[in-house]
Each structure stands twice: as structure tokens, then as C-alpha cells.
């Protein structure tokens, strides 16, 4: 007895371990990582980004002609508050929670306050707080109420999901995410060849070096350095929608006090005859010639000194520089250099050095000693993060607003208004308040609502629309995917070339090769791998990074390992002898090529070590010397919004606890990373692996990772699964009761898959499961499983398999504009006269909760107090529903004005519904077969839930589905879950455990242990005849998903119905009871078959059949007119008996006779055509024969 209880306890412990989905405390850390980049970037914006941005917003100055003093106005100290409810009493404030916003269709936003600083003349600075409206708050950011709710329990108390991760906004009750967009990597000069460059102006070639410079406040200015046929170069940059092109020599001279000789030396330093055409040599002797041409150009303009150059620039740019119209030329030139050229650098000498380097790179590209950088490769990409987008948008809005305020103030001052005093803050505030400061907050909200950037400058972005998307909660995987998706940019979607869509090896480990939709957005909408992260302004401990400090310490380290600093002297050597070192786009020095490898190694070591100040996500982009490869150098990046992913650094002994290094796509290209799968990857012994992948599944996205044994599937199938997983009906959310989504799909009885990958538990997918373990038999039975159709077991469906609901919320807002049009007061109510609706509507005008409502039945009554009439809202659609929930907004007024009514549409599986396994094997239910008719196993009596056709396998090669079936069978017999992480066999091999048993043997032996066939086959008997089926049948549990495509939402039927007013043809559209178009191709088909009667029936009789009167004399169908016989009355008077049906009297108006009238059957549109033609003064005549 004792032993047995002991065993039981042991069993219990074992059970708990084997059932991670039942664990008490769930770990959501991994899940949080998925959303982190959204929240981090927003947090940083709120905490520091706005402040930094406001410092860069240019102050405005208003000149007071009376006192000759200037009023300077600038912004500082932005504050964003937590969302509060609007209350009438100012003292009491209630927090506004996200769930309230969702239900009441509000925006989750907090007050946005800014200090306006006024300085009149040299007087003291006066601060004045001003409200800039409401700032939308990202959920779970530091200004969100949910941030404090750090446990699932607390979140549930706030009516959120226990796994709520935030990262999105709520605008008018809708959840929207800012889309992550690919941008060119910041502060890295990229060489490019584009034909469009030739069209810039005469003499331009297709070659250029482009750099996207980003300031500390995230605003960017791109600069292009074009190569000219003459051998010179032009620097191009955009001001107010126009590109300005300057000879590079002028910029070089204007940047710093230098001599022609110095410029010549700096430019030619990358050429040395010693290494001519040798490995890593990037310069040729032509470079000297070109330097001369550049300097000669200056002679041509007769510009010799820096001041002359500055004068020249200032003269030409004064007109376009806003607010500098009255400044001196040199001030304008300084502003141009500061605001448009290499804005990421503050120091002019740094700019000079960078320009020299770019010129060298350009010349090397022209001389073909280096290749172009592929702009489509992830190597040269970074991401536009939500916080950054809002910051740059806000910056422009604030600047515009300040300028507007300035103009208004200036006007007021110039009016010479006695009452107005510029020095008085109250007076100026009054004027400023007229400029609608609250529009600023509204502008951001608008950006998030519509995804459109309403901007003049374009913010150096490629697109102005589609910046945000709805975060649909169709199911959890779809929801997650919105936060991992990265779009290449809308401008590429229209491109006819496919090169941007290609899967390039550079994106290995960062972008999931499997998880991209097929069809139109294929390759443009990618998803980050589960291990990929984006760098932020926060380090791993959550502290804000101090980039100045970081750069300083990196420089220090670099100097200590042998770098020659660029300052104070310009560098005077180039590859292959020394390599330039760039740190965040600043030339910090050069390093000898013989020590660089060691230096890089050292840097990597420091990255990983905790003690060093070097950040762990530093990108050490070492481009080695090569024969005409990429331009060599050491490029270091510390900035935010880069991709990084963890790999194992093999050069650091694993005994040291930390050897996980974060690498970026730029450096990855030149690194040797071994992966446990696929041998050495063609690597030669000369290049031993310095790094190793942590696990091969690191290249897959979260959704891609959930496919069991995806390494055994044909790859397109895994792609299909990634798409289908996102349209599965599952447990969309647990907080269903506190939500008011337009449409929610919900599976009644979901299950956890028996066969699953490690990712499944890592991200707690069990919180929102999306499928059922169905017993699947693979056989051709009954013929109803042909062509990807499948037969479901009716009894299983009766017992609840695949049952689901659609929750649909209707919001009835009586205060809405469309009601307000006639200004009548409305309230909910029901008619006391008409009792027919009383069955559905309660005395308050709202439906009974739990009431079943059929299509067309009323669900809420609206009482118009002026006309005292009651109208009812009726249920649309064709299927019946239950009233699930009624929520009312009691906050406003005495009468109810707003109600959310949630309907529940039961959706039991029916013929035509779509299902899919996790291996891209989708199918449509073709028959609900009786349990007794299903084949059954003689031994166990088991009948399958679902029958699919064996033809689904040979061409699709989804071997993993077969494995899943066997494994799940074994797992369910033994009562445990089966780990199906892909590539686990190769992991095992790399770990040295040489197991010769293949996966199938392992799984098969589990079956044999329980007396089943090794291959998962079973002898089945026909359910209809009771005889043994001729062959053994493959049967086992497979996790099946019910897809959201259901016939009830799609079927279209029409016999007769509404017709178009103009053409009298049947209308189109399922919603309106229209028909399916019998189009040209269908017509052709019937013609080809010679089915004339059918054709006549479809196109005429069942369409717009019409009998027209035609005048055979003039051939017109439009001039006929029915004559009311005048004599009718007369005849009645004299008492003549009318013939039972008086013949219709028709006459032709133009012939003035009814003699030639004939009746002709024709489509009504023909008559319409005649009328249209007549409208264009074209007469159509018919010639009638016999």
C-alpha cells in the first residue's frame, strides 16, 4: 500500500513536469523580448527622445520694431502624462485604462505638456506651460498604467490578457501598431550604381556614394556624392523638395581651413604605387588626376580660400534657408553645412575627413577596385522604430507650429496694435493659443490612426502612407506577427523588378526565410527571427546608454590596441597598408592592416565581457582587404535600431560563463559562423569558424518555429503553414468579455498539440491554443476525399470537435453625426404599439442577453423624441446569432447614448469549411460522415475523426506530417508530449552523441512497445461492409487547425432579387443579395459549346428581359410613346362596354403615327445604350425584317 502511494506521488511529479502548460507560474520573459523593440523605443522617446528633439527644434525670433528688441521663443521640458479620464472637477482624476478605451471606442492617450520659453531681448527667460493636446500612449510603456501591473494576475484584474505585452496603441477603440520599416543603414557611406543618377544633369554618371546621416534626435538627412564624367564629384542634398548639387571642392574648402595641397594629399593617400593592383589596394594613379580636376574647378569659380567658399555657398542658399534671410552669407553657409551636410557629425574636421573617405570610396568604385554595396541586402539596413518615427514627425510639427506662431506674432507686432505688448507673456500666449497648439497631439493621433505622414519634407522617408497597421487579434500568432513583421517599404511594392524580394544570404539569422507571405507582398514583408532583436537606447540592465561616453571609451580602446587617431592630424595613408576606422560614421583613425584581426578579436572579447564599457551590441564591421571586393575598413556601430542576434563566440573559452555575442548583419557577412546543420558550409580549413550558431532554429521566426519537424518538409509547405497559422480560428484572447472588437474568432474546445517544438512552451502558446488533435486516417474512402477534400466524422463534430464562434460587436452611438443631422433627440426605447419586437427587445430598447436572433430580426430600438417614432436596428447577414453581451456607456448625460452589443454566431463545422494541418496541408470538409460509416480498427475500435486522401502527400512531400502522426500516436499511448524541434538531430550529432537510430526508428519503437505497427499502420475494417480494407491504413493523431474561411460567410445564392436601377440587370455583391456575374469568358464558353438556349436564358431571360416598341418606319426605339386613349372617358360616358383588355395604343412621336409599331424583345441595356447615344447626339435605328 505504501509503495503504491509513493508511486502515485512520483507519478504526479512526473505529470507536472510533463505538462508545462499547467504550470502555476508562467514565464513570459521570452515573449516580452518579442515586443521589446516597440516599447523600448517609445519609452526612450518619452524619457529622453522628446527632450533631445526639442533642443534641436530651432527657436523662433520675433522682432519688435518699437524697441528694436527680439523676442526669442523656444521649447523645452516636454512632459507626457498617463492617460486620465476627462472629468468636470479638475481636482479629481481617474486613470483611464486600456480596456475602457477598447470598449468605449476612445483613444488611449495622455496629456502632452511643454514649456514655452520666452526671452525678450537679453532679459530673463520666462517659462510658460502649454498643452499640446493628447499624446497617444503605447501600451505597457512607462507612461501606461499597465506597466505597474507586472504579474499576470494584476493584468487580469485590469481586464487584460495575462500575457499582455503591449507595444501597440489604442485609437478610437482600435488597436494599431506602427509598422517596422527598412531604412538604409545610418551613417554608413554606401556605394551605388543607378541609372537614374545619369539623369540628374548633363555629365553625371550612374555612380554615387550615398550616406544617410541621422542626428541624435533621429531626424535624418541623406547626402549623395555623385561622380561626374569629367572626373570630378558633386555633393547632392535635398532642401524643401529640391536637390541641390555642389561641387565637392567647395564643400571641402568650406568645411575647414585647408590648402589645395592638403586636400590633394588626403585624397591621394589611398594610392601607393608599391601596392598597385595588389590585394586590398583601392586607389589607382587616376586619383591624383581627379584631385587636380576637383581643385581646378575651384580655380574656375575663382574660389581660393575658405571664406570665399562660405560666401559662395551663403550667396546661393540664402533664399532657401528659412529664417536666415537677413543673416550674413557666412552664417547661412555655416547653417547649410550644419543642417544638411553630414548632420550626424558636429565637428567640421570630422565632416571633412568623412567627405575625403567618401570620395576615395567613390573613385575606387569608378576604378572597379571595389564593388557596389547592395542596397537590398540586410547588411545595409536598419529599422524605423515607432518611437523614432513619432519623434521625427513631432519635430517637424513643432517646428511648423513655432514658425506659424512666429508669423502670427510678427503680424500682430507689425500691425502696431497699441494693446498688444510683445514683451508681455500673457499677450503673446493669447496669440500663440490661436495657433491651435492642441493640433500637435491630434496630428500624432492622426498619424497613428491613418498611417499617413502629413508632411512637407517627407522626413527623409521613402513613403508617406502605410506607417501603421491594425493589430488584428484573429489569433495570437497573427497578433505576435504584427510586431515582428518588417516591411521593405511601400515604394518597392510597385516595382516590377523582383530583385528586392529576393532572399539574400545576408539576412541569415535575422529574417525568417520561411515566414513571408506568398503573392503580392512576397519578400517585401518579412518577419524577424525569434532570436533577432533590435538595438535600443537601453542596455541589458534597462539603463539608458550614454553614447558620448561609449564612443569615447571605444576610441580609447582602439588607440590602446594600435589605432592612429585621425585627430588632430589628417590621416595620410590608405589601404592596404592601413584601414580607415569609422565609428558611427566618424573617421576616428586608421589601423594597420597587420594588427587589425587581432584588434577585432579583442573588441569582440570586450563586447562580451561584463566589466568593459564597450556595449554588448556594438557592431564590429570589419571589411577585410580583398581583390576588388567591398571597400575595406573597420566600421563600428553603436547606434539604436540595428538588427542584432546572439551567436556563440568560440574564441572565448566556454568556461567563461558568457560567450554569447550579439552580432549584426553588417559584420556577419565577414564572420565565420558554423551551424550544426549542414556540415562546414563549404568552409575551408584556412577559415576556421570563429563563432557558432546557438541553435539552427534561430533562423526561423516565432511562427515558423512552431511547425513540428519543419526540417522534414518541403520548404514552400512551411511557408504556407506560416500563413495559415495566422488565419486559424483559435483562442484569440482570454479577456473576451472585456473586449469590443468588430470581429473575433473563437474556438470552443481547443487543445494543446501532442507534438510540439520547444518554442511552443517558450512563448506560452498554450495560453491561446489554436487547434485540435484529430485522429487522421490517410485513405481513399468514399471518394469524398478527392482533391484535398476531407471527410469529417459527424459524431466527433457532435461531440464538439472544431466548434467555434464568431463574436461580432455592433456599436450603436446615438450621438453620432449621421443621427445628429436632423438635430433630433434620440434615445433607446421600444414601441408600445408594435409588440412584434418585444420578443427581442427589452423595455430599455436593448436586446435581452442570451436571446437568439435570426437574420433580419431587430436587436435594438431607437426612439426619436421629436417624431416620437421608433426605428429598429436589424441583424444583418444570413445566419442567426445570440446576444452575448450588452455594454452601455453610462458616463454621459441622463439618457443612454452609446451601447455596444456583442453577438455570438455559432459556427459548427459544415461542409465547405476549411481546415489545415500544421504542414501547409489545407483542405475543405466535403462530408460529415456518420460514425458507423467510418472505417474502424478491429483491435481498438477507433474510428478516425478525419479522413484525408493519400494523394495529398507524394507531390507535396510533407514528411513531417507523417512523422507527427506517428509521434503523436506514440505520445498519446505513453501519455507524454513529443518534442518536435526541427534540426534537433543535427544538434545531437554536433554534441557528439552519435546515435545511429533515425527519428522514425525512435518514434516507431514507441509504437511497437504498445503493440502497434512500427510505421503507424493499422488494419481497418470498412464501416459500411464490415470487411477488412485491402491494405493497412496510416492512422494517428495530427494537430489540425480550423481556418477562418467558412462557407457561411461566403456562400452566395440568388434566384430573383434586386436589380440595378439603370440597366435593370441583377446587382452584384453578396451582402445585397446579388448574383455572380456571368461574364465574357463564361459567355465564350457557352458559345463554344453551342449552348444557345442556355446562353439566351442567362443573358436575357434571367437578366434584363424587356419588350420594346420599335417604330419600323423610323427605326427608333426612343420615340415611341404610349397613348392614353382619350376616348376612354367618352366611351365610359356613353356606356360602351370596354373590351376585357384594351389594346395598348403606341405611336411614334417623330413619325406621328402608330402604324409601323412593332414589339421586339431585347435586353433593357440595349434601350439604355440607345438613350445614352441619343444623349451624345447619335441616332440609332433598328431595321426590322419580316
Amino acid at each position: 500500500m505504501d509503495t503504491s502511494t509513493g508511486d502515485k506521488e512520483e507519478e504526479k511529479v512526473g505529470k507536472a513536469a510533463g505538462r508545462p502548460h499547467l504550470a502555476e507560474e508562467k514565464d513570459y520573459e521570452a515573449l516580452r523580448e518579442i515586443f521589446r523593440h516597440h516599447i523600448d523605443s517609445f519609452d526612450h522617446m518619452i524619457e529622453h527622445g522628446l527632450e533631445a528633439m526639442m533642443q534641436n527644434v530651432k527657436p523662433v525670433e520675433v522682432f519688435d520694431p518699437a524697441t528694436k528688441l527680439k523676442l526669442r521663443i523656444w521649447l523645452s521640458n516636454p512632459e507626457v502624462y498617463e492617460p486620465q479620464k476627462e472629468r468636470f472637477s479638475r481636482t479629481m482624476t481617474d486613470p483611464l485604462y486600456p480596456f475602457e478605451c477598447r470598449q468605449a471606442k476612445l483613444s488611449y492617450s495622455g496629456a502632452f505638456m511643454v514649456d514655452l520659453n520666452f526671452q525678450y531681448g537679453d532679459g530673463g527667460v520666462i517659462r510658460d506651460k502649454i498643452s499640446l493636446g493628447q499624446f497617444p500612449i503605447m501600451l505597457k510603456s512607462k507612461t501606461c498604467h499597465l506597466r505597474a501591473a507586472n504579474t499576470p494576475k494584476k493584468l487580469v484584474l485590469l481586464k487584460e490578457e495575462p500575457s499582455e505585452m503591449g507595444g501597440y496603441f489604442i485609437l478610437n477603440g482600435l488597436e494599431r501598431v506602427i509598422r517596422l520599416l527598412i531604412l538604409p543603414k545610418r551613417n554608413y557611406p554606401t556605394s551605388m550604381v543607378r541609372n537614374s543618377f545619369r539623369e540628374r544633369r548633363e555629365g553625371y554618371t550612374d555612380k554615387a556614394v550615398v550616406i544617410r546621416c541621422v542626428r541624435e534626435d533621429q531626424s535624418a538627412v541623406s547626402v549623395k556624392l555623385y561622380y561626374l564624367n569629367s572626373g570630378s564629384a558633386r555633393l547632392g542634398f535635398w532642401i524643401q523638395g529640391r536637390e541641390y548639387l555642389l561641387p565637392v571642392g567647395i564643400i571641402l574648402k568650406a568645411l575647414t581651413e585647408t590648402t589645395d595641397h592638403e586636400i590633394y594629399l588626403s585624397l591621394t593617400c589611398c594610392y601607393n604605387d608599391k601596392y598597385d593592383r595588389g590585394k586590398g589596394s583601392v586607389g589607382t594613379q587616376l586619383i591624383g588626376e581627379r584631385a587636380k580636376i576637383i581643385l581646378d574647378e575651384l580655380q574656375h569659380f575663382s574660389l581660393y580660400t575658405r571664406t570665399q567658399c562660405l560666401q559662395h555657398i551663403g550667396e546661393h542658399f540664402q533664399a532657401v534657408m528659412v529664417g536666415l534671410e537677413k543673416q550674413s552669407y557666412s552664417d547661412v553657409a555655416d547653417a547649410v553645412l550644419r543642417d544638411y551636410i553630414f548632420v550626424h557629425l558636429d565637428d567640421n574636421i570630422d565632416k571633412f575627413n568623412l567627405l575625403i573617405l567618401m570620395l576615395q570610396k567613390l573613385f575606387s568604385l569608378v576604378d572597379q577596385t571595389s564593388v557596389t554595396d547592395n542596397p537590398d541586402s540586410l547588411q545595409h539596413h536598419e529599422v524605423l522604430l515607432p518611437g523614432h518615427l513619432i519623434t521625427i514627425y513631432l519635430k517637424e510639427k513643432l517646428q511648423d507650429w513655432l514658425l506659424r506662431a512666429k508669423r502670427l506674432l510678427q503680424d500682430e507686432v507689425d500691425k502696431d496694435n497699441k494693446k498688444f505688448e510683445l514683451s508681455s507673456v500673457t499677450d503673446t500666449r493669447k496669440i500663440i493659443d490661436k495657433t491651435f497648439p492642441k493640433q500637435i497631439g491630434a496630428a500624432i493621433e492622426n498619424l497613428l490612426k491613418t498611417g499617413r505622414l502629413n508632411t512637407q519634407s517627407g522626413l527623409d522617408l521613402q513613403q508617406r502612407a502605410g506607417m501603421t497597421v491594425m493589430a488584428e487579434r484573429l489569433n495570437y500568432l497573427r497578433f505576435i506577427s504584427h510586431f515582428r513583421a518588417i516591411h521593405r517599404g511601400a515604394s518597392f511594392a510597385g516595382l516590377r523588378t523582383t530583385s528586392v524580394r529576393k532572399l539574400l544570404p545576408e539576412s541569415w539569422g535575422f529574417m525568417c526565410p520561411v515566414h513571408t507571405p506568398d503573392g503580392e507582398p512576397c519578400g517585401l514583408l518579412n518577419h524577424m527571427t525569434s532570436s533577432c532583436r533590435l538595438t535600443s537606447y537601453y542596455d541589458s540592465e534597462g539603463k539608458v546608454k550614454d553614447f558620448l561616453e561609449i564612443r569615447k571609451s571605444i576610441s580609447k580602446v582602439l588607440v590602446s590596441i594600435g589605432m592612429t587617431p585621425a585627430l588632430p592630424k589628417l590621416l595620410l595613408a590608405g589601404p592596404p597598408e592601413v584601414l580607415p576606422v569609422l565609428l558611427d560614421g566618424r573617421v576616428v583613425g586608421s589601423i594597420a592592416s597587420n594588427i587589425i584581426e587581432k584588434a577585432v578579436c579583442h573588441m569582440r572579447r570586450l563586447k562580451v565581457s561584463e566589466a568593459s564599457v564597450i556595449p554588448e551590441d556594438l557592431e564590429v564591421g570589419y571589411v577585410p582587404l580583398s581583390m576588388g571586393g567591398a571597400y575595406p575598413g573597420l566600421y563600428l556601430f553603436t547606434s539604436a535600431s540595428r538588427f542584432v542576434r546572439p551567436v556563440r563566440n568560440l574564441q572565448i573559452p566556454s568556461e567563461e560563463s558568457k560567450n554569447i555575442e550579439l552580432i549584426g548583419p553588417f559584420e556577419q557577412v565577414y564572420m565565420e559562423i558554423s551551424c550544426p546543420d549542414g556540415g562546414n558550409g563549404g568552409r575551408k580549413d584556412v577559415f576556421p569558424a570563429s563563432h557558432a550558431e546557438i541553435h539552427p532554429t534561430g533562423i526561423l521566426s516565432v511562427v515558423g518555429n512552431l511547425t513540428p519537424w519543419s526540417d522534414h518538409n518541403q520548404s514552400p509547405r512551411n511557408m504556407y503553414q506560416c500563413q495559415m497559422a495566422k488565419q486559424t480560428m483559435g483562442f484569440s484572447c482570454q479577456s473576451l468579455n472585456a473586449r469590443a472588437d468588430q470581429k473575433l474568432y473563437h474556438l470552443q474546445t481547443p487543445q494543446t498539440p501532442i507534438v510540439r517544438t520547444q518554442t511552443y512552451e517558450k512563448y506560452n502558446i498554450d495560453d491561446c491554443p489554436l487547434g485540435t488533435n484529430a485522429i487522421v486516417a490517410v485513405l481513399a474512402y468514399s471518394g469524398y476525399d478527392m482533391e484535398d477534400a476531407m471527410v469529417l466524422n459527424k459524431s466527433s463534430v457532435d461531440r464538439g470537435m472544431f466548434r467555434g464562434y464568431i463574436y461580432q460587436t455592433e456599436t450603436v452611438d446615438l450621438a453620432e453625426d449621421k443621427f445628429r443631422a436632423d438635430r433630433s433627440q434620440r434615445s433607446f426605447g421600444r414601441s408600445n404599439v408594435d409588440k412584434s419586437s418585444h420578443q427581442f427587445i427589452d423595455s430599455d430598447g436593448l436586446p435581452f442577453v442570451g436571446q437568439s436572433i435570426g437574420p433580419g430580426d431587430p436587436y435594438c430600438g431607437i426612439y426619436n423624441e421629436i417624431t416620437s417614432s421608433v426605428s429598429a436596428n436589424k441583424l444583418k447577414g444570413s445566419d442567426h446569432a445570440y446576444v452575448d453581451y450588452v455594454a452601455v456607456d453610462t458616463k454621459n448625460k441622463k439618457h443612454l447614448q452609446k451601447a455596444n452589443i456583442r453577438f455570438r454566431h455559432p459556427r459548427n463545422p459544415v461542409i465547405g469549411d476549411k481546415f489545415s494541418s500544421r504542414h501547409g496541408q489545407k483542405g475543405v470538409c466535403s462530408q460529415l460522415w456518420q460514425d458507423t460509416d467510418m472505417p474502424f480498427s478491429g483491435v481498438t475500435g477507433m474510428r478516425p475523426d478525419l479522413i484525408i486522401n493519400p494523394h495529398a502527400f507524394p507531390s507535396r512531400m510533407t514528411i513531417a506530417m507523417l512523422l507527427e502522426s506517428i509521434a503523436a500516436k506514440g505520445g498519446s499511448l505513453h501519455g507524454n508530449f513529443v518534442d518536435a524541434t526541427p534540426f534537433s538531430s543535427s544538434m545531437k550529432r554536433s554534441e557528439g552523441s552519435e546515435s545511429d537510430s533515425s527519428l522514425i526508428d525512435e518514434l516507431g519503437s514507441q509504437l511497437v512497445k504498445r503493440g502497434f505497427n512500427h510505421h503507424g499502420l493499422e488494419v481497418l475494417y470498412s464501416g459500411v461492409y464490415g470487411t477488412e480494407l485491402t491494405c493497412e491504413i496510416f492512422i494517428g493523431p495530427v494537430y489540425y487547425q480550423r481556418l477562418r474561411h467558412m462557407v457561411s460567410d461566403k456562400f452566395q445564392v440568388r434566384s430573383t432579387g434586386t436589380i440595378d436601377q439603370v440597366t435593370r440587370q441583377p446587382i452584384k455583391g453578396r451582402k445585397r443579395g446579388g448574383g455572380v456575374r456571368f461574364g465574357e469568358m463564361e459567355r465564350d464558353s457557352l458559345l463554344a459549346h453551342g449552348a444557345a438556349y442556355l446562353l439566351h436564358d442567362r443573358l436575357h431571360k434571367s437578366s434584363d428581359y424587356h419588350i420594346a416598341d420599335v417604330c419600323s418606319l423610323c427605326g427608333s426605339i426612343l420615340t415611341t410613346s404610349v397613348i392614353q386613349s382619350h376616348k376612354k372617358k367618352v366611351r365610359e360616358m356613353i356606356g360602351m362596354r370596354l373590351p376585357s383588355k384594351a389594346p395598348k395604343k403606341v405611336t411614334c412621336v417623330s413619325c406621328k403615327t402608330g402604324k409601323g409599331m412593332e414589339t421586339v424583345a431585347m435586353p433593357y441595356v440595349f434601350r439604355y445604350l440607345a438613350a445614352e447615344l441619343a444623349g451624345m447626339n447619335i441616332k440609332m435605328t433598328l431595321e426590322l425584317s419580316n
Binding site: S4, N737, Q748, K794, S795, S796, D798, R799, G800, R803, Y805, G850, Y882, D884, R904, P906, Q930, D931, T932, F936, S937, G938, V939, T940, G941, M942, L1007, V1008, R1010, G1011, F1012, N1013, H1014, L1017, E1018, V1019, Y1021, G1023, V1024, Y1025, G1026, T1027, E1028, E1032
Partner: protein, 319 residues
């Protein structure tokens, strides 16, 4: 062919009977009869199940249909089912389906008043008829404490949640809805006949014999430890999976064993949901099968046959 009788006298031998489990042999008949019996047991033997639910209060987390569906699937003791009327045929209540001849009323009233979760189970269903009650699965003989197996959980309630409903149970058959199916599983297999070719078997070494015995995933053969002979341990364990035959082939000894399925004897396994006893299920099934055959036989030579079966009538009369 007229006058030739194919009449046979099938025999049933019961091997094992428990309340919800039975194993029996059916001999001297063919697959059509065996399968008909199986099909009738699964989908034609009537039981009683909750068919109509009127929900008065439901503040639980599950919605009304979900609870109604769950209630429908609760097995009820259906010994009375054969004697009951189908609601649609009931003349006492004009098809209303709420009279005592065709229905049983249930009431459920539960409210959670404390902080521990309240499990509403099938035991909370109060029946108007003491013979029709939810099946009690608590096994007195088992050592597991009975508090855990309090019945089938219908819904769990939290503090303040309430469920009040009235349910009508009716007679029905599994064909209409799986909830009326009395059988969890009914299956049969052909009885195998296994001949071991002793001569050929003796040519095998001991290891080979063991290999041969182990090749079947189920324990069909065994080796006599005394004389080392392979013997049929239990022929019925054989699942017609041909594993041993393939093994014999692979060992280069085809014909080592010969296995035939007896065409006229079947071994049935019946498991019920608990609604009716397994033995009763068999009796009821035979009864219903007889009734159905009667319907055919009686109408075989009457005009009704044409009405009842339409075109099929001709076939049934042997046309």
C-alpha cells in the same frame, strides 16, 4: 434460386461481462450480420440525453450553448429508454416533447458563494425521474478518494457566479446525434486461425525463434521455455498486421506460419458510455435489428412496401 434457404443459426458465446464492458463471440454468421450488429449498437440503440435546455441564469464563463452542449453529452442511465417514446411520435403531448412518456426533466441550480472555485458536475443535476439520472462513475472499489470523482464537470464557478437551468432529456438514437450513442466503442475482429509449420520452425535457431516471436508487436507467439518450441500464445492478439509473415519471408522461410481469418466467427468488444449495461446494449441491439428486419419482411409482399421503400421495394422483394 427460389426456395433455397441460407438460414443459419448464429451463436453467441459471452466471454466476459462487466457493467460497461463486454466481450463475446459471434459464430456461424457472416460479416454483414456482424457489422449490422455493430452499427446498430453504435447508432440505433436508443438512450436518453438532455436535448433541450432552458437557461434562467448563467453568469459563468461559458456561454449558454456551450453549457447546453456539455449537458447533452452527459450520459444518463437509460434503462428506460427502450420503453420510452420518441418525442416526435408521442401523442400524449402533441410533439411538445415535455410529457412524462417521452421526456425527463432536470433542474440545476448552483451558485458559488465562497472564494474556492465551485465545480458544477453532473451530480448537481436533479432529475424528475429517479431511474434517469446521470451516470455515476465513482467506483467504490477504487482506492482513489471519491471526492475527486464527483461526477462529470459541467462548468466551474467563481465567487458570485450562478447557474440556474431546466433541462429536458429525451429519447434519441446515435444516428441523430452522438450524445444518444450508448456505445463508446463497438468493434469486432475475425477470429484468426494460426498454423505453425513445426517442421520449418525446427530449422530455426533459438535466436531466430526469439526474433520471430518478437517480430509481432502484439504477443501472439511465445516460446515454450522447456522444449524451446514456438507455440501460439494467444491467437486473438493477432491484429492482421502481417508482421510475422513478413518476418518469415525476410528470414527466408515463407510458409513458416499460416494465418487465416475465420470467415464466420467474430470476436466483439463492446464498451458503453455507462448509460445502459453492455449486456443490455447487445440485447437491445438484437431487438432493434429484429424490428428493422421485421419492417422489411412484413412489407415485402404488401403494397406498403412500395410506399415505404419506393423503388427499393422491388429489390427487396428479390426483383
Amino acid at each position: 434460386m427460389e426456395g433455397v434457404s441460407y438460414q443459419r443459426f448464429p451463436k453467441i458465446k459471452i466471454r466476459e461481462v462487466k457493467d460497461d464492458y463486454m466481450k463475446f463471440e459471434l459464430r456461424e454468421t457472416d460479416a454483414s450480420i456482424a457489422n449490422a450488429l455493430r452499427r446498430v449498437m453504435i447508432s440505433e440503440v436508443p438512450t436518453i440525453a438532455i436535448d433541450l435546455v432552458e437557461i434562467e441564469v448563467n453568469s459563468s464563463v461559458l456561454n449558454d450553448e456551450f453549457i447546453a452542449h456539455r449537458l447533452g453529452l452527459v450520459p444518463l442511465i437509460s434503462e428506460r429508454a427502450m420503453a420510452m417514446r420518441f418525442s416526435r411520435d408521442c401523442d400524449a403531448c402533441d410533439g411538445d416533447g415535455q410529457c412524462e412518456y417521452c421526456s425527463v426533466e432536470f433542474h440545476l441550480r448552483a451558485k458559488c458563494i465562497n472564494d474556492t472555485t465551485l465545480d458544477v458536475t453532473s451530480k448537481d443535476l436533479y432529475s424528475s425521474d429517479h431511474t434517469v439520472v446521470p451516470v455515476d462513475f465513482s467506483d467504490a472499489s477504487s482506492t482513489i478518494d471519491n471526492t475527486e470523482s464527483r461526477g462529470i464537470i459541467i462548468v466551474k464557478l467563481r465567487r458570485g457566479q450562478e447557474l440556474i437551468l431546466r433541462a429536458i432529456a429525451r429519447k434519441g438514437i446515435g444516428k441523430d446525434h452522438a450524445k444518444w450513442s450508448p456505445a463508446a466503442t463497438v468493434t469486432f475482429m475475425y477470429e484468426p486461425e494460426i498454423y505453425i509449420n513445426e517442421e520449418l520452425m525446427e530449422t530455426l535457431t533459438m535466436e531466430e525463434k526469439q526474433e520471430f516471436v518478437d517480430s509481432s508487436p502484439t504477443k501472439v507467439f511465445d516460446i515454450n521455455p522447456r522444449n524451446g518450441q514456438v507455440y501460439v500464445h494467444n491467437a486473438e492478439n493477432y491484429a492482421y498486421d502481417d508482421e510475422v509473415l513478413k518476418k518469415a519471408e525476410a528470414m527466408g522461410k515463407p510458409g513458416l506460419v499460416e494465418i487465416h481469418a475465420k470467415e464466420d466467427s467474430f470476436i466483439f468488444t463492446v464498451e458503453t458510455t455507462g448509460g445502459i449495461k453492455a449486456s443490455q446494449l447487445l440485447i437491445n441491439a438484437i431487438e432493434i435489428l429484429k424490428q428493422k428486419l421485421d419492417a422489411v419482411r412484413l412489407s415485402a409482399d404488401t403494397v406498403e412496401a412500395d410506399e415505404q421503400f419506393g423503388e427499393l421495394g422491388a429489390h427487396m422483394r428479390g426483383g
